[in-house]
Amino acid sequence: MNNAQKRFMTTGYGGLPFGEFSQCEAGNIGVLGVPSEVDSGPRIGTSLAPDELRKMTGQLGTDLPANGRDLGNLDLSGDWSGVLMQLVTQMVDHDIVPVVLGGASDVASAVLRALPDLPVVAAMPLARRDLIERPANTIWVGLNGGQPADVWDQISQRTMAWRTARQLDEGHADTLDMPECAVLWIDISVIDLGHAAGAVGLNPGGMKPETLVSVIGAMSCSWQAIVITGLAPARDTRGMSELAAIETLNAALRNG
């Protein structure tokens, strides 16, 4: 663990005490920051997200609807994705919900590799091949029309459920068949940049932050792990993107 931030912060995400995985009890959450950076493209800044989210929950006085520990940030030297997979597996085995604050999408990929058999609810603008190839169907939230044709074909062949941002705005989320338990992956790029500018992906016509919160909050699903990626806080001076991430996470924890 890289615990340098503990020297500057007295409490962790949402007021949780900093601690170790062994201090978590069954039913708790374990918040883990994985400050990886996007490796290409003009929009970077995801490495700042975990600490900025902690800072903002402190400023807002956010009350989490769950107990647990903030485990600090993962040390990204060496085989960090292997360590992350191991940590996530251990937490899930002990009935602790890992809440992983990325980072770039490679953080979510590692989390999903650690839980290969669980279905995924993916809030993201573009469908990903690695998700389509998982054994359980993925539920797609906020897809735009920019997928390659073969990806659409696979989604269609496997009859995966998906909703566009517009459909969700029009209230089409309530018809989604939810699995009993799943992994929740929220890529902040699912939100329209006009509403919240702190995302690494450009997604015109994407979701409104409040729609994302209400859609995720309405899902009756037991989340086995939650991962947030694609947040670049420095690109959003108003803090709307962090606020959207925090409120969405809270909505998920309240229900799941």
Partner: protein, 224 residues
């Protein structure tokens, strides 16, 4: 200097462009507007104390309420809690005893607490606080003295430069709520916004100013 230049350079900034006055200038039925320069006593968030100054600078003469005056800022002692509250309560009570109505502008919600105690002292009974989001207001007699609490943190994220919540009221919704508040509104507090002091803050400043105008209009109306 011509009249225009005099207007531009000589006038002291005041809330909504109303005349600046003192306690001696106040008469029964008037609305006394005062700045509340304290943001560290209840739900602290640095910067809320600047709202009064921001709204005075942003106010333009021309649409000033006819029956209101700007009393300046109430004296505050933010680092001495007891002294602070007794001072703010005494000043607020002095205004209410005249029969004037009072609006505290800016700061945190501690001003509301002081207003409540002052109103209780003057009326001899508990004066309910009606939040701008509604609630108990519907069942009040129109003569029941009430205090209106206008927490600008209830504004939706789109309207403020540093949002603390995604969902909430639009300024128009808030103004409509203020207008329909029942009871005899004897005092009000407009608080909870730390205005950005640059161009980003113009939207929230204009929204807060429109809300302050609505609060003043409602206070002038008295018993609704």
């Amino acid at each position: 200097m011509g009249d225009v230049a005099q207007t531009q350079f000589d006038s002291i900034p005041s809330f909504l462009g109303v005349p600046v006055g003192d306690l001696e200038d106040l008469v029964s039925g008037q609305v006394a507007m005062a700045g509340y320069f304290c943001d560290n006593l209840a739900r602290p968030a640095a910067g809320q104390r600047y709202l009064a100054r921001q709204l005075r600078y942003a106010s333009r003469p021309g649409k000033a309420p006819a029956n209101a005056i700007d009393l300046g800022d109430v004296n505050v002692f933010p680092l001495e809690r007891d002294k602070h509250f007794s001072a703010v309560i005494a000043q607020s009570a002095a205004v209410l005893e005249i029969g004037a109505r009072m609006v505290l502008v800016g700061g945190d919600s501690s001003g509301l607490k002081a207003l409540g105690i002052a109103a209780q002292k003057v009326t001899g009974a508990d004066v309910p606080v009606i939040p701008v989001t509604g609630g108990i207001a519907a069942n009040l007699f129109h003569t029941q003295p009430v205090i209106l609490s206008v927490d600008l943190q209830e504004l939706a994220a789109n309207w403020v430069s540093q949002p603390r919540r995604l969902t909430g009221l639009s300024p128009a919704q808030m103004i409509a709520q203020i207008d329909t508040t029942s009871g005899n509104v004897v005092a009000a507090a407009v608080f909870g916004l730390a205005p950005a002091l640059d161009s980003r803050g113009s939207t929230e400043t204009r929204a807060a100013l429109a809300i302050l105008q609505a609060v003043t209009d409602r206070l002038e109306k008295g018993a609704g």
